[in-house]
C-alpha cells in the first residue's frame, strides 16, 4: 500500500509536533511525554492530561505513532501504555522540522540580516 506523502500532514498542530519530537527520543508513556515536552520547551508548553491523550489519539489514528504491544522492559510500569513513532511519523516529524527551520531562517534573515 502506498504511504501517504509526509507533506500532506503539514503544518502540524503545535501539540502534535511537540509530542512527535518527544517520541523521537524513544518509547515513552503519557506522563513521560508530558515531562519531555515541558523540558524541551523550557516549561513554556504545559499540556493537560486530556490535551495530551487527545493528541496521542490523533497521532495514532493518523498512523504517526503507535502503542507498544509490550512494555519496553520489565522494570517499566506495567499499568502504563507506551507509545513510539512509526516510520511515517518520523518522516512527518522531519518534514515539519525542515519546514520550521526554513521559516526560522527566513525570519532571521529578514529581521537580523547580519546574524543569518
Amino acid at each position: 500500500m502506498a504511504q501517504p506523502d509526509p507533506s500532506s500532514f503539514l503544518p502540524l498542530p503545535q501539540a502534535q509536533f511537540h509530542v512527535l519530537v518527544a517520541l523521537t527520543e524513544g518509547e515513552r508513556h503519557g506522563y513521560a511525554i508530558m515531562q519531555a515536552v515541558e523540558a524541551s520547551s523550557d516549561g513554556v508548553v504545559r499540556m493537560g492530561p486530556a490535551t495530551l491523550y487527545g493528541t496521542l489519539k490523533r497521532l495514532v489514528d493518523q498512523h504517526l505513532a503507535e502503542e507498544l504491544a509490550r512494555r519496553p522492559s520489565a522494570d517499566d510500569d506495567q499499568r502504563r501504555r507506551y507509545y513510539r513513532l512509526t516510520g511515517l511519523g518520523e518522516r512527518v516529524c522531519a518534514a515539519e522540522a525542515d519546514r520550521l527551520a526554513g521559516l526560522v531562517l527566513l525570519a532571521r534573515t529578514n529581521l537580523r540580516p547580519g546574524l543569518a
Binding site: 493537560g48 491523550y53 489519539k57
Partner: protein, 195 residues
C-alpha cells in the same frame, strides 16, 4: 488524596464515551502522577483549564466527525432555534443568544449536514418526508385549538403549547427540506450504467 482522584474521575465522565473508554484510566493515572509530583494545587491548576477547554472541544469534534451524530447535530440546532423563538415570546432575554448559537452551529457544520443529506437513501428520504408531513399540521392545530397569541396574558400552558408548536413547525420544515435534499438510492441498472 482519594477524594481528589474521585472528583477528577467523575469529571472525566463528561468526555465523549469513546474517548473516556480509550483514555479514561490513563487520564486518572496521569492526574494521580501530577498530584504526587507537584501537589494537588498545581495538578488542579493544570487539569482545570484542560477540562474546561477539552470537554466541549472533544464533544464538538465527535459531532463533526461521526456521521451517525448528524441526527444529534440536527436536534441540537432545532432545539436551540426553538429555544430562541420561545424565549422571544416569553421575554426571557436569551432569544438572540440561542438563535445566534443555532445559526453559528448550522453554518459551521453545514458541510457535515450537507454530506449527510447527500448520501443516497430512498428509505431515509421517505422517512424524512413522512415525519415532515406528519409534523406540518401540528402547529396550526395547536394554534387554533388553544387560541394562542390572542391576548398578552401568558400562562404556563400556553408557553408549553407554543414551544411544542414551534418545535413541530421547525421540525416539519427541517424534515421536509432534508427529505427533498436526500437523493434516492440508485437502482442496479443505474449503477451498472455508471460502472
Amino acid at each position: 488524596m482519594a477524594d481528589r482522584h474521585r472528583l477528577y474521575r467523575a469529571l472525566v465522565r463528561l468526555y465523549p464515551r469513546q474517548f473516556r473508554r480509550d483514555y479514561g484510566d490513563d487520564l486518572v493515572q496521569h492526574f494521580g502522577d501530577l498530584v504526587t509530583d507537584r501537589g494537588a494545587r498545581a495538578a488542579w491548576a493544570r487539569t482545570g483549564l484542560d477540562l474546561t477547554i477539552t470537554i466541549p472541544r472533544y464533544h464538538l469534534e465527535r459531532i463533526m466527525n461521526d456521521h451517525r451524530s448528524t441526527t444529534t447535530l440536527n436536534i441540537v440546532i432545532v432545539v436551540l432555534a426553538v429555544g430562541g423563538i420561545a424565549s422571544f415570546f416569553v421575554d426571557a432575554g436569551l432569544s438572540p443568544l440561542l438563535l445566534i448559537a443555532a445559526g453559528a452551529l448550522a453554518v459551521t457544520q453545514r458541510s457535515a449536514l450537507a454530506q449527510a443529506l447527500r448520501v443516497p437513501d430512498t428509505d431515509r428520504r421517505h422517512r424524512r418526508l413522512r415525519i415532515g408531513t406528519v409534523l406540518v399540521p401540528v402547529f396550526p392545530t395547536l394554534w387554533s385549538t388553544f387560541d394562542l397569541w390572542v391576548d398578552d396574558s401568558w400562562s404556563i400552558r400556553e408557553t408549553l403549547v407554543t414551544i411544542v408548536g414551534v418545535l413541530a413547525l421547525v421540525g416539519a420544515i427541517g424534515f421536509l427540506i432534508a427529505g427533498l435534499a436526500t437523493p434516492r438510492t440508485p437502482d442496479r441498472g443505474q449503477l451498472a450504467d455508471a460502472g
